[in-house]
Symmetry: D2
Subunit: 206 residues, 4 copies
């Protein structure tokens, strides 16, 4: 079992990411369950605009897409800007959508039997809006969404500390509870779909 | 196996509902699969504003909520107004949310092991926005969202025919394909979760 | 100059409303400017579902709609439920939209020369999402939206105090600053549009 | 009077853009009114991720930002992907937001007295959702939003022709009407705010 995290932070991995800090909490649970994890900091890659699987000209999405294809669980992580997911996360969704007409050997969308979830951090407001669009996108292209797989932290309205800074004054029980929900439920569904894949009935693409 | 449809049309059942027409197509599939269906036209009921399970004073939500509790599959249906789901559908979500702290005998949210999906119709634009908020809400409170369970029809930008009228000139292959996706995938997951419920690991409410 | 506030709280005016508490801060500014204000607690009224100006059968929207027509400034206030505006606020938007094909004596939409704004409160996350849909709706049907007229307060992720309770520990400078922005900018634009209405050029309805 | 269009198409200007085709209709009106226009195809530029005014390292946003500062009208144009505005448009919003703490000589946000609007095209569903988030973002950072400045075209649900292709069979009266609304109302408000700028009362940043 393998989990892939696509972190849509606007910062490359040379800089700290609050979303990464929350992702690490999910990974701790996965480790205990024997699930391997890889985190992709999308800003480290040169991802071309477009909706083809490979846009050419040095487009690095294809290597990310290979990792998506090999993952049992895909978690989209995003910071919040202007009350929404980041542009980089939006681009990842455009590129995932670009692969949505590909099929597995049974003729289903290639994302069938993969499990999705989301992790969102922001200094204020926008988590549910970001989560909503991400969960919908994953579901719309073929991922399975277990219950309670939208894990987030945001602070009070207005300027204020981001996740890592805020947690120095004490962890958020609410957020930690939802880390646990996400970790256990994505793991359970991924195992279930691995042992009993969705049968190719009524869901084969034409 | 039993499916409950909550139709958030602004019209009572004495009037035709385009959303109902699309719901009926899902029901046709369910019938062939031996799944029973009930459609609730929410506008027929006096549902009190609020977020308690029972708001008292003649509030009829509790009878609907009993039906939700007894269903294996819950499909929210909505028309589109101003590019969004209807106020009545929003109210149903508020009331479903009002029951989200209730637990089953294992301590999980009461909606665990239930499967959700959505059906949306409008004369133009707004289906994905409506679907996104409904899918998210269901997922956030404990429903499982199988792949491809957002079935919709909308027409071209601007004033124009609604679903039933438009279909008189020829059915939408796209929409019908998604009716099939929704029917088969909700049915499969409902069966799977009935035979193998989500174990109470990491998802018990505190 | 007159301002109308439509408070979409799920509670009637016999109960305290956090959104009302924030609305009162706007009214304080309006009083100093000589602008009169009226707050409608929508839950006090029996508003019929539908998108006609008058749905009949005791529908009380028409009396509210008269007040809208007489106002220079219309502020939609809403609590947050499930990261979104309330069902009652959504219904008010449906009913306002129902009047959007009415015209003034110049043939423009009846909401021309009226100014819109929004006030949102919630114990956590969802303010920008609620504000976004409300501002858009107002703009789409003919209201003018001055800069910075989305005033909100939300707390940290998870369960926590609502606006009135939280303010007992100290006011939010951020929110208060935005109360001021909203009050001054709506007032300025309302005055400007009163003295120099939008000319009927290119915006007359057909 | 000068209008700047930021076209968030995923394609560079060497390729046709449906959004550009709709933008050109707005420009026709502006020409008749003596308003000059410039269209920026954002995909032609190397815009760095981030929320600073200048991210350095060859970031080309600063040259676009200069054009924004010199414009009286700023129109965001976007295609629809997955029912939402494009990642490139989202990035433009992030960068505009990055300049939102800059002030004019009166201490107001730098976008004061500028007028905003949006143009959206997609082969299906998502226009109002895209418009809503763009209008809100512009309003939130200081732009003025006149009535009826969300102009869009989308086709019927499912795969189908895009704007330019669809228009070969006949223009959309609805969309053309809204092109006219947008052009006249943005022009009027831009003129009004040029001759009577928003006074620095209650809206000076601290």
């Amino acid at each position: 079992m393998h989990a892939l995290f696509l972190n849509g932070s606007l910062k490359p991995s040379s800089e700290d990411s609050n979303t990464d800090a929350l992702i690490r909490k999910v990974i701790n649970y996965y480790e205990d369950m024997g699930i391997t994890s890889e985190v992709i900091r999308l800003a480290d890659y040169t991802i071309a605009p477009g909706v083809e699987v490979d846009m050419g000209n040095g487009d690095q999405w294809p290597e990310i897409f290979e990792k998506v294809k090999n993952a049992d669980i895909v978690i989209l992580g995003t910071p919040i800007w202007m009350g929404e997911k980041s542009s980089i996360t939006k681009q990842a969704i455009e590129r995932l959508d670009g692969g949505s007409s590909l099929t597995n050997e049974l003729g289903q969308a290639i994302y069938y039997n993969k499990v999705g979830g989301v992790v969102v951090t922001g200094n204020e407001d926008g988590a549910k809006n970001a989560a909503s669009s991400m969960i919908y996108a994953l579901s719309h292209i073929g991922f399975t969404i277990p219950p309670n797989v939208d894990t987030y932290w945001v602070g009070e309205a207005g300027p204020g500390p981001s996740y890592m800074e805020a947690m120095q004054k004490g962890e958020s029980e609410f957020t930690d509870q939802h880390v646990k929900f996400l970790a256990y439920n994505t793991a359970h569904f991924a195992r279930m779909l691995k042992s009993s894949p969705i049968p190719p009935e009524g869901n084969v693409m034409e």
